[in-house]
Amino acid sequence: MSDPSKPDLEESVNVTEAHERVLREAAAAARENRLSENGREPVSLWVLVLCAIPVLAAGWALGNAGRLFSYKDTVKDGYVRIIPADDDAAGPPPKEALAAYMAKGQKIYGKCIGCHGPDGKGDGNAYPSLAGSAWVNGESERLAMVILNGLNGPTSTGKVFGVMPAQGAGMSGDDLATLMTYIRNSFGNKVGDVVTKQMGAAALEISNARPKVGTAVNADELNADHLKNLAGDSLDPKVMLDPITLEPAEAK
């Protein structure tokens, strides 16, 4: 244990004794393991996959941030929920009139889908097409009479398809109005106006006042008596309506 650089100094024994004394006192420090070098295990795939989940979630959150580092935008669009002042009518937000009528009419059209089809094209054989039909796109009273009472004989194209049964049973003026608005603005039809609830109610009255009430109409009767639009105030298709009551949204 002698140190060659210090030939005259024999200290190693004392040092060892001193160390032993220290180590008896500091047993905890003496029994410690040494820290090992870092391991070099490769990062396994499942750790990367596990890390990918929060990274994707962080991307989602960042996607909500709008324009980054734009210090002028202090309110995020759509963050604050629109709650109607009247708690009972806490329904969906108002819609434009045409969209509101069509949304309701689309549900009623479920009755007609069996024959006229989801695309309104019929089958060209037993059931005529509503798309591009002169009667659908034409005068509204004539169309209302066909829907309410059914049709016998030739259609607007002159072709005879068979008998269309009456649909008026249980149909309210509102139902008729929304249905007519829907078919006049769907399947490629673009009349663009709204058949209002008032017009629908007028159609029911006219239908009940027909001389041959309870029978299907035919082309002769339609062109003789009903070749006009239904009476009633027209409605701007852009005006905002409550989508449930179809009343103007400002009325509340």
Binding site: R24, A26, A30, N38, E41, A57, A58, R67, S70
Partner: protein
């Protein structure tokens, strides 16, 4: 440490013992005083938690109203326990890893007393109604400058030790220790200067405060605890850290991302709209460093499962590392855009803080204390049973508090979103969870009163004089001890230093 050390284990051990000796007083002071503050914080936590479900509890005394007890609880927990435990861990780790004795123990000890005086007066100030009302910064304005100066006097020596360390490899823990030492004054001084120092927009002060809270968690407590875990797990198991690549990934992803986190608490407030979502994204991303560090450490510990069960230090540390993994998941879950509105004004934010401060940080700190104190006092822990009690009550307590506050908070948040119901409805949802949280805090109080008692006995140097560590296995069987320690009962003259004498 490993490369710079001598190859003679006896000289190595003597060097370690000298370093421990030099830090005995300041580190023991931080740990013991921290444990006392922890007991105070938990007591205040019980009172404030009880008031959530029973508003009439102790309502006669203005000092104990919720608005004072709750902030006193959080501040005592953070600055009394958390910071002091972290200071003790950080200065001890840096001295050991840089192989430098501490030459300023007196200054550190004095600074520790200044810190205690500041937070003691600050806590009394909060209870007296002089709190600032800024979360986690409620100490009256006089407190923060002395705290910052005391911090500087405590921490600067560790930076000097790192500077003069022996050349060679820098161990993973040192990255994190240095990070925590540098980030704490940045976060603390920035927030206090901008909020208490300058009179800016109160709205932006709110945002800065949210950033501060997140920064304290992710830029101080998290790296301090990860540093300790990276030290303790390989040290006690004797195994190398699993993967250097994961260590690097964990450190740098935390360092780059954590400063962006925090402002998600202000989603919907009229601050620039991108800030909350940037904060949410950064907080979610913190799951990545959490996964990297915890997988790395658990993989290291997994090869020595018996040691994990038997060693008090390692058992607490590994539980804390599992807490880190859970914390990462909570970061992701609570901040994805669909849950963000639910976590904003409910119990869940508090649950997240407690999960981070207790479920992760405190467990690792307990592990560190169980490891370091026998080295400083040269005595072994007295009662394995007390350590077990501390461990299990802490686990039950923190799992209950965190789960309850996280999920009860989400329920409460969901109920708050239902605007058609009266507001009391949301509180009804939270009620059973709040009761459970109070009970869990009582568990934690019992657990930590015993811990404080045990630590106090060690501080008084009343620990066991033995060369045998206090282990948690079933009884003291011979197979728990390796050959170097000799049979149990061999008191006072065993150990490797005298092994060849007989």
């Amino acid at each position: 440490m490993s490369q710079a050390s001598s190859q003679n284990p006896a000289i190595d051990a003597a060097r370690r013992a000298e370093i421990d000796r030099s830090l005995r007083h300041p580190v023991m002071f931080f740990f013991t005083s921290g444990a006392a503050w922890l007991a105070v914080a938990i007591l205040l936590g019980i009172v404030s938690s009880a008031k959530v479900h029973s508003p009439g509890f102790l309502d006669g005394c203005s000092w104990l109203t919720y608005g004072r007890v709750q902030p006193a609880h959080m501040n005592a927990l953070i600055y009394g326990w958390g910071c002091q435990a972290a200071f003790g861990m950080l200065i001890w780790l840096m001295a050991r890893l840089s192989r430098q004795e501490c030459r300023a123990a007196g200054i550190i000890l004095t600074a520790g007393h200044v810190w205690n005086l500041a937070i003691g007066l600050g806590t009394i100030g909060i209870l007296a109604g002089k709190g600032t009302g800024v979360p986690w910064m409620e100490f009256p304005v006089f407190a923060w400058v002395p705290m910052l100066l005391a911090y500087a006097a405590i921490a600067v020596w560790s930076m000097v030790q790192f500077k003069v360390r022996p050349a060679g490899h820098v161990f993973v823990s040192q990255w994190y220790v240095l990070g925590a030492l540098i980030w704490f004054p940045w976060v603390f001084a920035t927030a206090h200067l901008l909020i208490h120092g300058f009179s800016g927009s109160p709205l932006m002060a709110n945002a800065i405060n949210a950033w501060f809270r997140s920064g304290l968690l992710f830029l101080f407590f998290t790296p301090a605890a990860i540093a300790a875990a990276y030290y303790l797990v390989p040290k006690i198991t004797g195994r190398p850290v699993y993967s250097y690549t994961l260590s690097l990934l964990g450190f740098w992803s935390l360092a780059v991302v954590a400063p962006w986190a925090g402002m998600q608490k202000l989603a919907g407030a009229p601050i620039p709209a991108f800030l909350p979502y940037l904060g949410a994204a950064a907080t979610i991303f913190i799951a990545v460093p959490a996964i990297a560090a915890s997988v790395n450490l658990l993989k290291t510990a997994a090869g020595a499962w018996e040691t994990v069960v038997n060693s008090p230090s390692l058992r607490f540390t590994v539980a804390g590392v599992v807490g880190l993994l859970v914390l990462g998941l909570a970061c992701t879950l609570l901040n994805v855009p669909s849950f963000l509105p639910l976590s904003q004004f409910s119990l869940s934010g508090y649950g997240f803080d407690i999960l981070a401060l207790y479920g992760f940080f405190s467990f690792v700190a307990f592990g560190m204390i169980y490891f370091v104190v026998p080295r400083l006092t040269r005595r072994e822990w007295l009662f394995g049973g007390l350590i077990k009690l501390h461990f299990f009550l802490s686990i039950y307590g923190v799992v209950t508090v965190a789960l309850v506050a996280l999920f009860g908070g989400l329920m409460q948040g969901g109920a708050q979103e239902d605007y058609k119901q009266p507001w009391e409805n949301a509180m009804t949802y939270a009620y059973p969870y709040a009761v459970a949280a109070t009970i869990a805090w009582c568990f934690l109080l019992v657990s930590n009163l015993f811990f404080f008692l045990h630590l106090g006995l060690m501080w008084l140097r009343l620990g066991r004089r033995s060369s045998h560590p206090t282990l948690l296995g079933d009884g003291h069987h011979g197979d728990l001890h390796d050959g170097t320690h000799g049979p149990e009962g061999d008191i006072d003259n065993a150990g490797p230093g005298s092994a060849h004498a007989h």
